[in-house]
């Protein structure tokens, strides 16, 4: 599913090159559940951006389903993000002026589904995350846990193979966290490949496989 070869990413800070990623070799098979753990500044978010086709690496290669992402045009990368990858972010990143259902429908809108198809699937996804009764609520009217469940439903909108989660429980209390984490486990059982980034060891243990990133390099935990 995912294969990276010697990924490097540098930033310029105070006229000095800083390595955020310094040679990442990562392989994630289809159906795997990988957690990537690391302290802040270790490069884990940078890695997720690259894996999610939100950013390009400076050096090295990234193959998603065997496709060299670096060579893709903008439009193709947008299509990958739309239908192959589902994102779950720490601060949910829901559209503030769209209702829960509309937020879930957004990726389907970009995919080109008809309003009828979108509506039907959004209702079904809301049921899956047990929030059917909140369909018309704005994100500001929902709790953090509910927001994250809406975000997960949105990530599943176009039935992606890969779920990328960046500290998905970072803003949630313990109860909401365990609900959300259980969802990832269920999704993985249903065959989705999950890559979860966290700095919390107990959360990392939910995954089948845990990796640790430190100073831009990955080690096995």
């Amino acid at each position: 599913m995912i294969e990276t070869v010697d990924l490097k990413k540098t930033y310029i800070a105070r006229n000095k090159e800083v390595y955020a990623l310094n040679g990442i070799n990562l392989q994630v098979d289809k159906g795997d559940f990988v957690s990537i753990m690391g302290p802040s500044g270790s490069g884990k978010s940078t890695l997720l951006s690259i894996l999610g086709c939100l950013d390009n690496a400076c050096q090295g290669s990234y193959y998603l389903n065997g496709i060299d992402v670096k060579r893709l045009k903008d439009r193709k990368r947008a299509q990958l993000r739309n239908s192959v990858i589902g994102f779950v972010f720490q601060s949910f990143f829901l559209m503030p002026r769209l209702s829960a259902a509309e937020n879930i429908e957004l990726p389907m809108l970009y995919y080109g589904l008809t309003p009828k198809e979108r509506h039907k699937r959004a209702q079904w996804l809301l049921e899956c995350v047990s929030l059917s009764d909140r369909a018309n609520h704005l994100p500001s009217e929902l709790s953090g846990g509910q927001c994250q469940r809406i975000a997960i439903a949105r990530a599943l909108a176009n039935d992606p193979e890969l779920i990328l989660a960046d500290e998905p429980t970072g803003n949630l209390d313990q109860e909401a966290s365990s609900v959300v984490l259980d969802m990832f486990s269920v999704l993985n059982e249903q065959g989705k490949t999950v890559v979860l980034i966290t700095h919390d060891g107990t959360i990392a243990k939910k995954a089948k496989r845990s990796l640790v990133i430190r100073n831009g390099i990955i080690n096995n935990a």
């Binding site: 950013d55 439009r75 993000r81 990143f93 002026r97």
Partner: protein
């Protein structure tokens, strides 16, 4: 598409005050444009109506300064001009006298036009009773008179009664042959109006000169050409062209047109400046919006929105501001034109093409000035955009 429009509306109405202020520039610009066009068109229509009555393709030939210099023009000059200028349609000699028309013990101060039968073809004269001067009347210097309706009512029992009766002008008896319908005399000390043959004037007054000769052309474009020809013909006869002058409404028309056009152009350029300023306002606000909504753009990109879809989103917002600014502008322009009508009496003329063009122009301004911010939005790197600032 509908969802995109919906979202664009959502984003605009989210900040109504900002949207309103952004639209204001477009409203003012389009409003100025619409009112200038419609008032200008109304003014042109009004002016043409007034000039048409006066005779647009008419040339007046006279001596020196009009009615200030002793005239040297003779009746024979009219015949000369008629024979020498092929483009002349009607050649009419005229002299104007203010005299008393008398009947019994009544006498009324009247502007007397001493002219010939061709005048009826040139001026807006409606003879509802009897007839106008004829060729024979002029040829034989008949003592006949055409009076206006007011005179007929004052001196007789009415127009029908007046026909065939006699009145006195400077002691000479004239037979009333026609009554003009509702003529009012303007720019004259006299209240009433009457016509006698110019030849009768010549013999009765013992005058050999006439005030003016008017020529009409079938083609209004030939006014200047015919004017020059008339001066040349008279110059040849009298040995100098300096004595004569001509006047036609083409000059008036073009001067009035020019003033009207100048006025329109000045306001139009102000309107365009307002529109450009309004457009820059849109651009400014859209740029602010793009940087405010960086994260939203990042989310849209993460969810798989293509650059085109993001561009469309922002162009729609700018376009909608343009549309509503345009509608507001057209409404305020129409209202202003009517307010102007209330004060000036110039009825505005609204042409659909101007209204449609202004609306399209408003949309164009919105989209054009929204282009750069929209481009900036769609070129944002998703990973960068997602980082909160």
């Amino acid at each position: 598409m509908l969802e995109h429009i919906n979202m664009a509306f959502n984003n605009i109405t989210n900040r109504p005050m900002r949207a309103f202020l952004t639209m204001l520039g477009i409203v003012i610009g389009i409003g100025a444009m619409v009112s200038v066009f419609s008032i200008g068109q109304g003014g042109t229509v009004e002016m043409n109506k007034k000039l048409q009555k006066f005779g647009v393709n008419r040339i007046w030939v006279y001596t020196g300064k009009y009615r200030k210099t002793e005239s040297v023009l003779k009746l024979s000059d009219a015949t000369l001009l008629e024979n020498s200028i092929s483009d002349a349609q009607y050649v009419t000699p005229s002299t104007y006298k203010n005299v008393y028309l008398e009947k019994g013990n009544q006498s009324l101060y009247t502007q007397l036009s001493c002219t010939d039968d061709s005048l009826i073809h040139i001026e807006d004269i409606n003879i509802n009773w009897g007839r106008f001067l004829s060729e024979n009347d002029v040829l034989y210097s008949k003592k006949v008179v055409v009076i206006d309706e007011n005179l007929a009512n004052k001196l007789f029992l009415g127009p029908t009664d007046a026909i065939g009766q006699n009145i006195y002008i400077l002691g000479n008896s004239y037979k009333v042959i026609g009554v003009e319908h509702g003529a009012a005399v303007k720019q004259s000390a006299a209240e009433y109006k009457a016509y006698i043959p110019v030849t009768t004037y010549a013999s009765s007054w013992g005058s050999s000169t006439i005030d003016e000769i008017t020529l009409t052309t079938s083609d209004a474009k030939k006014l200047d050409e015919v004017s020059d020809e008339a001066i040349a013909v008279l110059g040849q006869k009298y040995g100098t062209t300096q004595m004569f002058d001509t006047y036609n409404l083409a000059k008036e028309l073009s001067i009035a047109d020019g003033i009207l056009g100048l006025f329109s152009n000045i306001i139009l350029s102000v309107a365009i400046v307002a529109l450009v300023a309004g457009g820059i306002g849109i651009m400014n606000i859209m740029l602010v919006t793009v940087s405010e909504r960086r994260q939203e753009i990042g989310i849209m990109k993460a969810l798989g929105a293509s650059s085109g879809q993001i561009m469309l989103q922002f162009l729609l917002e700018a376009g909608i501001i343009g549309i509503f600014g345009g509608i507001g502008g057209i409404l305020s322009g129409v209202i202003f034109a009517y307010v102007f009508y209330f004060f000036s009496g110039v009825m505005p003329v609204f042409s659909t093409s101007v209204l449609i063009l202004s609306a399209l122009f408003a949309i164009f301004i919105g989209v054009f000035f929204g282009m750069y911010p929209a481009y900036k939005a769609c070129k944002l790197e998703p990973a960068e955009a997602l980082k909160s600032i």
